[in-house]
């Protein structure tokens, strides 16, 4: 698995998205089946088995190395898998012995002269596919000797890669979606073509690669509950609004939740996030209550007694592997439906929006699915009146207005002019720059990450700045140069990559909302803050007070 280990290694050090895509694409092109299919599995959903790895590793290390030395090593490195990969004393050829002129490094087969990057899996004495097939057969208690033999055979990078694929926590900066995008590039397809069939495929994805290389048909996923790519909206700019003919459009509220797709049928239900991730396991209250045959598009929200709760409440339900009864009661989940892609087995995507809406309403009236309701249409025909509604509504849960062309079919992607999102104007606050931190990657030589604060009066009557947020975009490259220069000439103190500056530079910060937070010193947290304008003209002392920000907090 040398080529696979090399891929993971280079992925972990390459910051650029394009570089990662290229690395993966080259690997998939030059690696045979089934090794590349297993690599794809590791990079996306993970391998379909799990082991008591930590205990097995600790037992192995206890036999191979002095306990104290291992403890000191692990404390230094901070990662058990990496520590083991580094300290493993493989009985390889040319092991360093005593003697003053022995070369210091003697592990593995990466001798001088070995080609770099390494050659493919076919000639590899230990192929990735072999490792996977043995793992499928080995019992939980027989893992140790197998693992030991492999660790002896591999070099440091190989050991690290093996342990990473066993733990499942790769941490090489590659999301499942990025890996699928790389695969799609093999045939110049888009990632949606892959997403659409993904949940109907199984590793090592032989049919997928055959189709991408023109050797086979598009895999038929039949009745599997697959994710269908979403129709995404464009932000509405002033010029677009001015040119818009409202009679061609249907208007709805934009709800402040998470976009989801429900795929239900044959007694099964899948709930997908907008990126195609299956989040069903976090919502048993919804999935268990649905018994229908449909593919629907809607907004996931927390709703209590018909009232939409603030986004903060929904966040308590997200990113969980399991939920308990108390969470289900405290944060009841709900879906507000706005489109139907299929009903009772019939694909509706070719129909215009008004037809799909009519079918959805009729179906809803008949079926009355639990924990759902329909997104209300805004029956306003005058642009001026709609604009007034947009600027006045600040109700909890409403992010703005959606404008959808009545004659639009449900197509994948973000085609311009079909669905518009008209987000309400952001809130703004004039804040003082407190700390500036070096950026990462291309921005590592610039102070581009800014922590800013608002004023408050303390017990003694003096005023102090308290941090209210952090942002690293919203300004132009030219502005970045100017801010960077200002930071360097107004530094009060340095802490590594962070500089504390004189409280004199004011930023007009824009943010979507602000909510209470016990995790922040100020007691509040901004949502999606960005630097809107730099107020070179405003002195630091005239920036806004914390009380002003607290008054903007959304209450349910």
């Amino acid at each position: 698995m040398k080529a696979f280990a090399h891929l993971l290694d280079r992925l972990s050090y390459s910051p650029s998205r394009n570089a990662k895509l290229r690395l993966m694409r080259d690997y998939f092109r030059s690696t045979p089946d089934p090794d590349r299919g297993w690599a794809l599995a590791v990079l996306t959903d993970g391998l379909p088995f799990s082991f008591p790895l930590r205990r097995t590793l600790m037992d192995l290390m206890a036999r191979r190395m002095d306990e104290e030395l291992f403890r000191l090593s692990r404390d230094y490195v901070g990662d058990t898998a990496e520590t083991i990969a580094l300290v493993w004393d493989a009985p390889g050829p040319g092991q360093a012995g005593a003697g003053g002129s022995a070369p210091a490094s003697a592990i593995g087969d990466d001798a001088a002269g070995a080609p770099w990057p390494p050659t493919g899996e076919e000639t590899d004495p230990l192929r990735l596919s072999e490792v996977v097939s043995e793992l499928a057969l080995v019992g939980r208690n027989d893992l140790a000797p197998r693992l030991e033999a492999w660790l002896d055979q591999l070099d440091a990078t190989g050991r690290w890669a093996l342990l990473k694929l066993l733990t499942g926590a790769l941490r090489v900066g590659v999301s499942a979606r990025l890996a699928k995008a790389a695969v799609a590039e093999l045939a110049s397809f888009g990632i949606d073509d892959i997403e659409e069939i993904w949940h109907g495929l199984a590793p090592p994805y032989l049919a997928l690669f055959a189709w991408l290389e023109g050797r086979g048909p598009k895999p038929d996923v039949g009745k599997a509950l697959v994710f269908r790519p979403l129709l995404l909206s464009h932000p509405l700019e002033a010029a677009d609004w001015a040119a818009l003919d409202l009679s061609l459009f249907s208007a709805e509220w934009k709800w402040d939740g998470i976009r989801v797709q429900l795929a239900a049928g044959d007694g099964k239900v899948n709930l997908f996030s907008r990126s195609g991730e299956d989040i069903s396991s976090a919502f048993p209250d919804l999935v268990g209550a649905w018994h229908f045959d449909a593919v629907l598009d809607g907004e996931l929200l927390v709703v209590r007694d018909g009232q939409v709760a603030p986004f903060n409440d929904l966040q308590q339900r997200l990113n969980r592997k399991r939920v308990n009864k108390r969470q289900l009661e405290q944060f009841p989940a709900h879906v507000r439906l706005y489109d139907a892609l299929a009903l009772s087995g019939e694909d509706l995507r070719q129909l215009p929006l008004i037809a799909r809406r009519a079918r959805l309403e009729a179906w809803f009236a008949r079926t009355r699915p639990a924990h759902c309701d329909l997104s209300e249409l805004i029956g306003v025909s005058e642009k001026a009146e709609l604009q007034r509604l947009w600027s006045q509504t600040r109700a909890t849960g409403i992010e703005g207005i959606m404008l959808k062309r009545r004659d639009s079919a449900y197509v994948a992607g973000r085609p311009k002019g079909l669905w518009w999102k008209w987000k309400r104007a952001p809130l703004t606050l004039d804040c003082v720059l407190m700390y500036a931190q070096r950026g990462s990657g291309k921005r590592s030589s610039y102070y581009s990450d800014y922590t800013f604060g608002a004023w408050r009066t303390i017990a003694t009557g003096a005023v102090e700045l308290v941090p209210v947020g952090k942002a690293y975009f919203g300004f132009t490259d030219k502005e970045l140069l100017e801010i960077d220069r200002w930071v360097r000439t107004h530094t009060v103190e340095s802490f590594g990559p962070v500089r504390a500056v004189e409280p004199e530079l004011v930023f007009e910060v824009a943010f979507d909302a602000v909510q209470k937070s016990t995790r922040h010193k100020s007691g509040v947290a901004m949502r999606f803050p960005r630097i809107h304008r730099i107020r070179w003209d405003k002195p630091g002392a005239e920036a806004d007070r914390l009380e002003t920000l607290m008054a903007m907090v959304e209450e349910p």
Partner: protein, 338 residues
């Protein structure tokens, strides 16, 4: 300790560091003293202000280049292998393999021998005389990479990685961060040995020491200065001190591939924390297997550890059935370019 309880070679530690009482000198003292034996030219070992300095000719040349002609009251050159009698102790300098001119200090006194390693490595290096093993009763060693996780890679392999990356990324500059004294010159010499014959570009801070190496007979090939560059150097190799890697200075290069040559690059988190895209695990210090092998080969029953990751090495010495002691000398700073 010798049988009657006196320390071997009369060695002890005072507020300036290691002191040899019979010879009346310190070794690599961290503050100005009357008489100092200096093992090599790195700033944490070779400091200004001593009354008299004893070192190899190359080390003296380096110290004068870095700190000026009057860095000490007087300089006395002692070539490798030549014995010098100082108050009943015989002192010899032998190669340590760390950088040009680096030495171990061998002290013989009343039938007992101590060897102070200074900074050292076992790997061959085209720019430095190779480490010479000297058997002794007391071995005083550094422990920069004193943890089992530290194993360096073969030089040729890492240089091969660098050249392969240069070949695959002709539209970008390869910026190699490396310690300015020793590591930079070694890497340049290794690149030349691998057949790379294009001019190698230098940050201003690297200039003086590269010129010194060349004047002492080490061929580094054609060197150029980044400030004289007519363009943003795509496809070229540039050397700079580690601090310039993410600094404004690097903006004058084309989308640089950041490489860093150091034993610390063995640990992934360190490389990523510094934004290093191409870690090169090359060091001028011994790795863990090298430290253990050397400790065993000296035959010393007593080993002192001056600085670095002392805890693990002292523990290991105990496992080997010898007496280990951590001196915890402060002032030998952990340098990111190690």
């Amino acid at each position: 300790m010798k049988k009657n309880g006196t320390p071997i070679a009369g060695l002890a530690v005072d507020s300036a560091g290691l002191y040899c009482a019979p010879g009346g000198f310190h070794v690599d003292p961290t503050r100005p003293v009357a008489r100092a034996v200096i093992t090599h030219g790195h700033a944490d070992h070779a400091r200004p202000g001593h009354g008299a300095v004893l070192a190899t000719p190359d080390t003296i040349a380096i110290v004068k280049t870095r700190l000026g002609e009057n860095a000490a009251g007087s300089f006395q050159a002692l070539p490798y292998g030549e014995p010098l009698d100082l108050g009943g102790a015989t002192v010899r300098l032998v190669p340590a393999g760390h950088i040009l001119g680096s030495a171990q200090v061998v002290i013989d006194h009343r039938g007992a021998r101590a060897v102070i390693s200074g900074d050292y490595k076992l790997d061959p290096d085209p720019t430095a005389a190779p480490f010479e093993l000297v058997r002794c009763h007391l071995f005083i060693t550094e422990a920069t990479f004193g943890l089992p996780v530290f194993r360096h890679e073969p030089d040729a392999q890492e240089i091969g990685k660098l050249l392969a990356s240069v070949g695959a990324n002709r539209d970008r500059t390869h910026l190699v961060g490396a310690y300015g004294l020793g590591k930079t010159q070694r890497l340049i010499a290794l690149l030349r040995a691998a057949g790379y014959d294009r001019p190698i570009w230098l940050h201003g801070a690297n200039q003086a020491l590269c010129e010194l190496y060349q004047s002492r007979g080490i061929d580094l090939g054609a060197l150029a200065h980044v400030r004289d560059a007519g363009n943003k150097l795509p496809g070229e190799i540039v050397f700079s001190p580690p601090s310039a890697l993410s600094d404004r200075w690097s903006r004058r290069l084309t989308e640089p591939v950041t490489a860093f040559a150091s034993g610390w690059m063995r640990v992934r988190a360190r490389a990523r924390q510094k934004g290093v895209e191409l870690p090169l695990v090359i060091s001028d210090h011994c790795d863990w297997p090298g430290l253990i092998a050397t400790v065993a080969a000296t035959g010393a029953e007593e080993i002192w550890v001056t600085h670095g990751r002392e805890e693990a090495l002292v523990h290991q010495i105990g496992l080997m059935g010898k007496r280990g002691r951590a001196l915890a000398l402060i002032g030998y700073e952990e340098n990111e370019g190690e």
